[in-house]
Symmetry: C2
Subunit: 459 residues, 2 copies
Amino acid sequence: MKDIKTYIEANKERFLNELFELIRIPSISAESEHKEDMVRCANKWKELLLAAGADKAEVMPTDGNPVVYGEKTIDPSKPTVLVYGHYDVMPVAPLDLWRTDPFEPVVKDGKIWARGADDDKGQSFMQAKAFEFMVKTNQLPCNVKFMLEGEEEIGSGSLYGFCEKNKALLKADTILVCDTSMIARDVPSITSGLRGLCYWEVEVTGANHDLHSGIYGGAVANPINVLCKMIADLHDADGHITIPGFYDDVLVISDEERALMAQAPFDLEKYKKELDIKEVRGEKGYSTKERTGIRPCLDVCGIWGGHTGEGSKTVLPSKAFAKISTRLVANQDYEKISKMFKDYFEAAAPDYVTVKVTPCHGGAAYVAPLDLAAYKAAEKAMETVYGKRPIPTRSGGSIPIVAGFEKILGIKSILMGFGLGSDDIHAPNENYPLEQFFNGIETIPYFYENFAKMSETIA
Amino acid sequence: MKDIKTYIEANKERFLNELFELIRIPSISAESEHKEDMVRCANKWKELLLAAGADKAEVMPTDGNPVVYGEKTIDPSKPTVLVYGHYDVMPVAPLDLWRTDPFEPVVKDGKIWARGADDDKGQSFMQAKAFEFMVKTNQLPCNVKFMLEGEEEIGSGSLYGFCEKNKALLKADTILVCDTSMIARDVPSITSGLRGLCYWEVEVTGANHDLHSGIYGGAVANPINVLCKMIADLHDADGHITIPGFYDDVLVISDEERALMAQAPFDLEKYKKELDIKEVRGEKGYSTKERTGIRPCLDVCGIWGGHTGEGSKTVLPSKAFAKISTRLVANQDYEKISKMFKDYFEAAAPDYVTVKVTPCHGGAAYVAPLDLAAYKAAEKAMETVYGKRPIPTRSGGSIPIVAGFEKILGIKSILMGFGLGSDDIHAPNENYPLEQFFNGIETIPYFYENFAKMSETIA
């Protein structure tokens, strides 16, 4: 890819300014008040794709937030890369922990600080700029399609239907996704597996209204205490999840594969220091990397009930709530797990309360085989830019739609992300190192080049 | 007490209008934004006392919200009744469960609906109007002092110091408090005991910032899950509190006294039906009434952490919080219990989190002997109006300052309240039946009459 470094150097400032315009739109999909921002953000992406060199681009309606679709065809006989990304971002609360305005990007200490700086505005924008470079310098070796959705952070609910309806439009040979992280800035890696996800909201009801904690305390069940007990009972002392049948479908990884995975550099002391924790905590019998890579887990993502404001109100509340999620691994069926938890948790309710479980979103786990042409194209591209062969890793995170693409479109995805563990995606002070941002733009064109060549060889 | 019924009948509308003016001031002591409302409410009380016939009334500063003091001396050789009440009210959240504006009182179905309608604006206002009646009809048989505080709902923090500083000013023979409930509208009762209280806020910290629940889930302790487990472990399967030493100082009630208490009418099926619960839940070996009357308890009054808003944010939070309270019984030292819980809960933290416990307010339990002259005066007054001898009951609630009065001023309090269990104090849709309101105004003058006579006899 001729002159890629020169092109990036010459356009650095413009790239950042364009990205910042995208970031400034608070496209939080989880909050309904941002409905209009979703549409604004989608339209901004349409403009960006046309300016970058797409033959056409459009904002396509779905049952929820729109999808931005764009394409450039150079030769129908050439292979096609489908780019997937998302323009929605996570909520920003608690706002008081942010050192800068989440929607006013700032460059400081070599990083971009803002919600979406990495996940996924920063990373998906790299794809647009790599595409722009290839078009403007007449080096585009494949046909390209772009698909950017606005519901990734809330489970991609509408994208499944969109894919079902647009199978022909989305026909491609591989999907390139930049929405994951590398092991470290000097340890390139490609995500070869993702965990699946199930998410529920639970509601525990005691008395039919809030009670005085003195008049009734000790005689009537407190739904907060009961919810705490029910949540505590979901794990045993060894950190295993106690729901009967939960682990039944988990594939047992061979000792050989575990040994291979264990070669990825990992410094437990540094990990603990960065998180400021004295000890890690997880399932007995597995290493920290295994606990997030090959084992499922269960976490309470939110809990609330009773008096949560200032002062000391003495109330015995009527209701308590929690948002509970599990991460699943390959071969666990998220729909089966979703029902399993609902049935189990509702049945576990003692007779002095009622419990309601509402399943929210979910998605299957995903594994990319390492001998796939597209995987090898990505591996070689990263090696060109980073000077080291990337390590395949299994991420603890979930991009449920990636398993959906495989199921609906029959296309495998390559998860070549440039984020770092310190980017604090989904948390206050999200950031993205400029080095990773520019390296990403540099790496992507080599992926296209390698993929086009390998496809020729295969053909 | 001549013409009391006629006086009430003639002034009903004015009484309600005056009370409503008091209720309209949102004097929520737990919320700092209402600081000015506290002062407005105190000044309104000063006006009310002067209009009712006090020789003097003033708003006296304390370290916190002011105390309203008023007095009328008819003859220094006569006994003195000190009236205690509070002008602060509880917070109103969740506002969407209120059927009417909490600070715009409405009369419907024979009840006043508003925050403070019962607790304690409605009940303390009865004392002012009973006093007005005795003054205006020249029937006041005792000297009277009024003391109304603005911090009862947050633990009366400043009133202890106020009492210490004003022992001479507050000198009296008994304290009359209308801030409790009767068993039922046709079952008069006097509260002969109150539970004490301890309240803490606890904070559990895992990692130093919110984490992505996929990247870290299963490998790093989730402070919500840990807090739930720690809370669950505070009770055993029989509903006993597990903190070592917690029950050490609890006085064991004799079988004879338990049998006497069991005579108070109580319909468990009706109780469950009113609360819409299938089963009650409490400490094994005790009846529902005993669980609130003679046994301590522990409740979570509030819990929060992680994502509590709309949508399904996948976060592994850094912190989780709870507000925890216990109700204590006679002979339990609340300062000892306060420290005991803090030490125990902090030490119980597993090494993968840190736990901080902040003690909030607390107070001792209280018992009024049934052979006290003032108790007998109240008993007889209620019998005059209700036609039945009131039953002595032990309330599960707490008015910690009542134990404080005994300790600091050396004066026993009489808890002659006219609330009902259905008044929903501390909850949405607080209400107070007009029948109870007017019966209270009618009963109080008889208390003064009886108390004056009994004091003469004793002297």
